[in-house]
Each structure stands twice: as C-alpha cells, then as structure tokens.
Symmetry: C2
Subunit: 434 residues, 2 copies
C-alpha cells in the first residue's frame, strides 16, 4: 500500500489515549460507586440489536434514520444501539418470571447515533442509564431523582450549579383539560400545540390555540402555569391523579432535604407519546450553558412489546458522558490531575544484572505499588525525562555501588528529594504516600 | 404491533444481567488491577473504524469476510472492529511526536466478528489487549510474557494449569535455512509447508518437503526440533540473531523465576506474515481442554501503514474474555459468589413516615454502606423474601415502636441473628463486617 491511511478517528468518535482514559475511568468510577452504594445493580447487553426493536419504540422512519443499520448475512436487519431502553426492556421481558421486582438497574453502555456531530453531540458516546422497574409508587420516582442528584453531588456540584425541573404528564393532561374545558381528543390537540410552544413563534402558538377554540383568557391561564410554584399549580385541579402524584413527590422532596435542588416546571414535557407520569430534566445553571443536560421520567409498559398482556412500569433517565463532562468542566469540578500519587520507575544501569531490577519491581508490585523498570538501555538522564513526562512520582536508583551494598536511592520527582534505603525501607516509605 | 418481538439477544451475543455483570466487573477488575500495578496504561478507541484499516493489515477479502461492515451516508466503508491492533496502531501513528516511548498500553474493548458462533467463539466478545511499543529489546518481550503470567496467577492459576509455549520467528527462519540448506526464497517455501504441519496429513507434509528438495534426513532433523529443549535447539544454529534472542529471553525467564511456566515449542508459528521475533501461546493444561487460549508476539512496523518511513516496533497479545472465563471455570478458579459482604435493605412499615426510612438509608450510604429502602408497600414477609433473593446481607427493621424509641433492629440474613441498636450503632456494626 503506497497510499497512507488516515490517523484520524471516524468523524464523531473519540480516541481515548491514556490521559483521557484515566479521566474516563475516574469519571465512570465515581458514577458506579454512587449507584452501587444506592443498591442499583449494573447490567449490559449487546451493541447490535434487531432494528425492529427501535422501530417498535420510535417508529420505522426514526429508527432507520437515527441508527447505523445494515442487513446481516442471515438477512436480519440489525442496528448498532442508539439507546439502551429497548435492550433493557427486552432483557426484563426475557426473564419476567425469574426477576426479583422492583429492579434497580443501571448500565454505562457505548452507543452510536447516525447524526451530524456538533458540540456536545457525538456519534459514539456513553450513556449512564438508571431505571427502576416494577414499582408504581412515587417512591421509585423519588429514588431515581435522588440518584441523579447524588451523582452530581458526588462530583462536587451543589444547588447553585444545577436544577432538577419536574412536571407530571398526568397532571399536565388534567390541567389542560380543566383550563381548556375540552374532551380528551380536544385536549390532546391542545397539548400538541403546547408541546411546540418554545419551537414556534408566539403568534402562531396563539393562533393555533384559538383555532382549537381557546379564548385569550384560557391562553393566559396556560401561560400563568409556567411561572407557578407547585402548590398554586396543583390548586388548579386538586382532585386529579397527576396532582396527587406531584404533591406526594414534592412533599417527599421537602422532607428529605432534596427540595433545594428541584423546582416545578410546567414547560417540561419530553415529547407526547412516551412518558406517563413524573417527567424531569436536569438543567445546568451556568448562564453560558443554561440548558437541559439530561432527563427522564416514568414510562408505560415497554415490556408489552415483547410479552402479551405484560405490564411492568419503569422510571429512569439516561445521561450522556459528553454532556456531563462538559458540565464538570464548566463548573471547574474536574480534578487537576489523574496521575497516581505513587508510581515508581526503577531506572536501569547496564553494569547491574537486569534480574536485580526485575526482582525490585516484583517486590513493589507485590506490595500493590505501581511500578515498572525502564524498558531499554538509554542514559540515566533520558530515563528520568521519561519518568517525569509519564507521570511517575518516584524513581528508584540502583547503580553498581548500591547493588553491592544492597540499598537503593529513592528520588521524589515532585520535591526532588532523595534518600537511600533498603528495598524493605522503600516499600514502607512509598506505602506511606499512597 | 400485534406481532411480539423476540426477547433473545442477537445470535452470538450475550445479555449481562446483574449476576453476570457482577462476575464481569470482578473479572475485568482483577485484570485492570494487575496491569495497572505493572504500570500499563489503559486506552480505548471507537467501535467503528474504516474498513481499509483491516484490509491493509489482513487483506481485503479477510477483512470483508470477518467484519460486520457497511457503507455510511458519507459513502465511507466502515467496519465494527474485529480486533484492536489496527486501532492502536492508528492511535500511535497519530501522536508519534508527542508520545513518550516505550509505551506500555492495554485495553479491554468489546468487538465483533462475523462468524458462526460456537463453543468459546462468539460474535460479540471483549478482548484484553496488552502491548509495548517502541522497545526493541528482549526486555519488552519478557515484560509482556510476564504480564500474561501475572494475570493468570492473579486469578489463582499456577504452573500446573497453564503453559506458555515460546518460539522465535527469526530463529525459526534461520534454523530452517540451516537444516534445509536453501536460499531465502526456498526457505520461505519450506516454512509454508511446516506452518501447515498440523493441518495436513503426514504423507502430504513429507511429499511437499521432498518436492522442495529435502531429504528424509533433513525432514527428520526438522521433526526433532519439536521435542527439543531450547538449548539443544539453539545449538543447531548458535550464531543466528533469533537464537541469540531466544537465549536472552530464556536466560531472563530462568533468573526471574518465570521459567517454570514456560517451555520452548518449535510448533508455535502463528501465521507467516505478521510476527517477526518472539512468538508465544498460552495453553490450558487441562487434559479435556488442552489447547491454546491466547497468544501474541513481536510484530513489525504496523505504524508504517499510516506514516511514511516510520518504524515503531511492538510486542503484545490479545486474550478473549470467553476463553479466559472458560479456563477459570475448568480449573474452579471462579469465586462461589459475587455478592457484597454487606448490603442492607431497610424494610418499611406504613405507620412510620417514609422520610424516616430515607434518612436511615442516607446515613448508611454516607458511611459507604450499600443500602436501599424497600420500594413499595408489600407485607414484611415479602420484603424479607425480596432481600434474600436479591443477595442482601442484612435487613433493618424500624416499626412504629422502634421509631418512637429511636432504635432499629438489625437482622443478619445469613445467621438469622437479630439485635437492636441505635442508627450510629448500626453503622459501627456493619462497617465491622464490610
């Protein structure tokens, strides 16, 4: 091949060199730790799924358009997963009889979406998926929202940095019907217009509502909902099931100290076809980045796509890695360094048998200290340069003289301090700094 | 949709329910820990790469046949990665000037191969990739082989369970040339026959060698190589560069105590076109499963596919997760349980305010104890059943009476012992068992 291949990764995907990978491992480690402490259990599934899975959830056209898909040699239409929900629904449906409900599950899968890459939106990304299956009560909604808050707090974020905006789809339907005085079909049409409120000009919005029979007074009443607090909103249709759910959730948020992170926001709808109860979005409060980072809510019976007459309720959210990293950077919540506190390079001289160095490295590794001998035969100065550039914290020096006396010199690369000790002394010294 | 979707994962792929996922997290955790302690650094790259990458390494036909590939909307021929080497070569080539050689890198990517699934061979699998780039000496070969041994030992395997079979491709070429007395072109032809030794009938093997001019005596000399120890083999062409490399490596294995895991095996060739120096395969010693689990070796300049006149040597191996799990099962090296030692379910009664339970759970989580409140309102007995089935180690019980007195009862689900204490007492009690 005379034509050289490109060294660029595929558009919209990322290479994770060790520096970036350390950051990711830290990042996902924090997330795993928080979720595991809350007794969420991790699962995963295949990268490839039948395209029909996504078509059944989102429609043939969207599934086709949004996914990387192809026909396999057995003539099956396959897709690289663009989201995790259909996979987890399939898995829950597949073991309905064996699983111990309610399930508290999470996953951090990589996935692909076939779209034009832009800031914060890539073709390959990881998504933290958190769901509770099989608990209909507000307790699950609360646990899910509380886990989202716990995740952000674990990274050092506080209530000045993010806000959880909460609504309820049942309440939304009920209050629209109460204000507009329409039948279910009429309310659905009104809801469709309201769902597009932020996306169409104000004039068009009013015009469409008027065409559905709403008066200026009714439109003003709907407008007022967007700035109401939760108790005023509930007062508009206090007997609705959705209002009851909202009240229960906000009462619990009050009593558990989570209220300071949360507000009621009638503008949170998240599309009309999927969610059935609580819906929420987590917003970045930074003025330059004030937008929804991720969201979720309670959804109806996805398992029904697989098992006749089966019903398992779900509530959860999916949070993209790129968005979350961006949030952490914006609020300066990223640690300055991901280097290990103790990482030791054993430098090498050619007048000492190589196995002496290997034995020293083995002793360190057995003591659970990260260590390597310098691979190669470059000069001492070059070995030190290598150690500094690679984030090593210490070098061990054992020339012919030290080897003969059974000692080593330890050099701290940060303080530049040096001392001489025995191999056992090295372990004690370094364990202390780990 | 009246037609229900299948709940089966795609053929040759696996669902990881929480039980399997705990096993995998343990499994990859052990691997990460061993490699990180040896100062290998983790990296990762995209699941999708240009098909040309695999074609350049393995030929158009094999790349096409072996990968899931398709044309994207920008008319690029893309493949789901079937291996990691082309990606890592691309990444190294992409930052040649910045990287701090020698690199000690590892990765645990998921990948796909388009082949008929069979025992130990799946379409989706994970592969532990370990490589050292930019060190030409035997030190890197030794470090790579030593890391493979350290990985298996970390799982509890010893020299009775596996053997590292080692050869050297330069030595192979030299000794064949020495015995056959052929020119380079002739030796290459002889090597091609020898590479197929185990795959063709003995008669055909001999016939083909005779056609290339080898006598029965020469064929017998080649046969003898397969049972020789390393020093006898080296004695056949002591001045060859490959013999020198073999000697250096085996000397170091002797001096570092790794020799007991290793043997010289002239039968290890690993294809003719890729490897250039040390080659090795790790065999399972179990009689019912005596075969190569994984292998690797020193390879020439892959980076040259991307950068003109660049040369970065590499030595490494790739180990599949399915094979390694199978080895651990065969030798009974899998832990009996992956349950956490302390995992607490706070049971719930409706006469106690829910937030009292949530506060208790928060206290536990803040103390880094895995805890959840029971989500729902089922009877106490059902809550205990749930806890037992889900691998909880303890339940906390706080009925109206306990709540009024500010105490909780702790029940150990293994011993069935119960005691009453304060919330602080619970933490002390459980931290002790963690």
């Amino acid at each position: 091949m005379s034509e050289k291949l490109s060294t660029q990764p595929y558009k919209g995907t990322r290479d994770f060199y060790p520096r970036e990978m350390r950051m990711r491992n830290w990042f996902f480690g924090v997330i795993r730790h928080v979720l595991e402490r809350s007794a969420f259990e991790e699962y995963n599934g295949p990268m490839l799924e039948s395209l029909a899975l996504y078509a059944a959830k989102s429609g043939e056209e969207l599934a086709n358009e949004q996914t990387y898909n192809f026909t396999d040699r057995g003539d099956r239409r396959m897709a690289i997963r663009p989201e995790m929900t259909p996979t987890v629904a399939r898995m829950v449906a597949g073991k309905m009889g064996e699983l111990n409900f309610p399930l508290k599950w999470f996953s951090i899968p990589n996935m692909y979406r076939c779209e034009r890459p832009q800031r914060g939106r890539l073709r390959e990304f990881w998504q933290i998926n958190v769901d509770i299956f099989g608990c209909d009560g507000f307790e699950a909604d609360l646990e899910v929202i509380s886990s989202a808050i716990a995740l952000l707090r674990a990274f050092g974020a506080d209530e000045s940095m993010f806000t959880v905006r909460i609504n309820n789809r049942r309440f939304f339907n009920d209050v629209i019907a109460a204000i507009a005085g329409t039948d279910p079909e009429g309310s659905r049409k009104v809801s469709k217009v309201i769902d597009r409120k932020g996306k169409i000009p104000r004039e068009e919005y009013e015009k469409e509502l008027r065409e559905l029979g709403l008066s200026d007074g009714q439109i003003a009443k709907i407008d007022a909902l967007y700035t109401m607090d939760v108790s005023d909103a509930i007062a508009l249709c206090p007997d609705s099931v959705g209002a009851g759910e909202l009240r229960q959730l906000f009462d619990a948020l009050d009593r558990t100290g989570l209220r300071k992170y949360c507000v009621f926001d009638f503008g949170i709808i998240r599309g009309l076809d999927y969610y059935t109860g609580t819906v929420f979005e987590v917003f970045d409060n930074a003025p330059e980045n004030n937008r929804a980072m991720f969201g979720g809510g309670r959804y109806d019976n996805l398992v029904g796509l697989f098992v006749k007459n089966a019903k398992v309720s779900g509530v959860g959210y999916g949070m993209g890695d790129v968005t979350l990293e961006h949030f952490l950077e914006t609020h300066k919540l990223m640690p300055a360094s991901f280097d290990e506190s103790v990482k030791v390079l054993v430098t090498r001289f050619e007048d000492v048998p190589y196995d002496r160095y290997l034995a020293l490295v083995d002793t360190l590794r057995d003591a659970d200290i990260t260590a390597s001998v310098y691979l190669g035969t470059k000069k001492f100065g070059k070995q030190i340069d290598f150690a500094v550039k690679d984030g090593y914290s210490h070098v061990l020096i054992m020339g012919g003289d030290e080897a003969a006396r059974g000692v080593v010199r330890v050099k701290d690369l940060n303080t530049r301090e040096e001392c001489e000790t025995t191999p056992d002394g090295v372990i004690a010294l370094l364990k202390d700094k780990q």
